[in-house]
Amino acid sequence: MNNNVIIIGGGPCGLEASAQLHQMGYNVILVEREPQLGGHLAKWDRLFPEGIKAKEVLDQLIANINGVKYFLNTEVKSINQLDKEYNVILSNGITILATAVLMASGFDLFPAEKKEEYGYGIYDKVITNADLENYFNTGKDRRITAAPKRIGFVHCVGSRDEKAGNRYCSKVCCATAVKQACEAKEAFPDAEVFCFYMDLRMFGRGYEDLYLRAQKEYGVRFIRGRVSEVAEDINSQLIVKAEDTLSGKPIKVTLDLLVLMAGMTNCQAGVKVANMLSLKKDDDGFFTCKDSILHLQQSDKKGIFYAGACTGPKTLPDTLHEARAAAIAIHNYFKERK
């Protein structure tokens, strides 16, 4: 039996699992389809709740994989189950026999243009959470020109929405929206900032404090009601309509910038690999764990493991926990087979 573990996906999940398994003495091969490691984390500016720089976290995660073999710009071309191992052919021509495969393929952001009524890709002043992070990171976005006077955030875009095909809550967007609302107020101190929410799901440690800070220190106005439609006026400002469900009245406001909190869906590149192995998916499109309490890291196939957002929306700390848990699950799998 060989000592090889293939990890699919070089985001924070794949990086942490690589570092742990490498330390345990396994021969880890990390496969990433993009030209750099880090996944979505590499494109983010700051992280909730305290606003730690994403780059600091990523640099640490990358430093920790010291010695792990990784391939960039590389996809899994085929993967076959043999008698005791998996035969994996990569797009760079390399073939690897691996005893265990870890799916750390993560998530895709919900394509916000699918919610046509919000006008992403149609109106110039509608952007997504990822666009705003990119703006905070680089200071550049052709859609943000003069300092906006009124900024809106729409929670649950492509989440809790059966018509968008996603009934589930994406878990991280509430905290992200509140964090970004505070940052928007820091970047544009004269702006009024509105958050349109249905429920605020501030479940984690420090998240409720973040919400309180957004209200008290930044004066962010939270309006309970889902935005129903967005239109553009002659000055290319946005007319946003919703119901203020706390007063039971329709509400209208003109905004200079609207940020859509796109949720999480299973990563399509990961699904492509999983389909080669006929791995199961739940109704929500994420992979099915062996069971939902005791065996979150195991799939229904021996030797195939899961970690991170490929089994449902997760925060970064959740994902890192799962990466470590998967390393232990894989270690136990090797021990049982000896």
């Binding site: 008290k216 007063s247 329709p250 209208k252 406001v253």
Partner: protein
């Protein structure tokens, strides 16, 4: 105006573009804790006067934020200043003090 046999109903839509926030800003300056309200409704539920009159501090804050001053004042004019809402507010807003400040800034009397 000519009588056509029908009349137009005024829109009940809240228009955040045209609200006057000058008084609201003054209130925030005087009572920064007003921003802490998360609309839980504890104040309204515990209100002694609320059983008999239209009294709800939660609603008054909301209407002030929406620029509907007249409606907001209707929600606090029957307040007896008993202070029960102060005891139940989970975010420890000094509701009694807030009510008096709202009256001071917004009331015409």
């Amino acid at each position: 105006m000519a009588n056509f046999g029908y009349s137009l109903t005024k829109s009940s839509r809240i228009d955040l573009n045209n609200r006057n926030i000058e008084k609201w800003n003054r209130l925030v300056e005087l009572e920064p804790d007003v921003l802490k309200c998360m609309a839980c409704g504890s104040c309204t539920a515990s209100c002694t006067a609320g059983k008999f009159t239209k009294t709800s501090l939660r609603s008054a804050i909301l209407y002030l934020q929406n620029g509907q001053e007249k409606e907001a004042l209707e929600y606090i004019q029957s307040c007896l200043l008993c202070g029960k809402c102060f005891m139940v507010c989970p975010r420890a807003i000094n509701t009694r003090h807030l009510l008096l400040s709202i009256s001071k800034i917004y009331s015409n009397r």
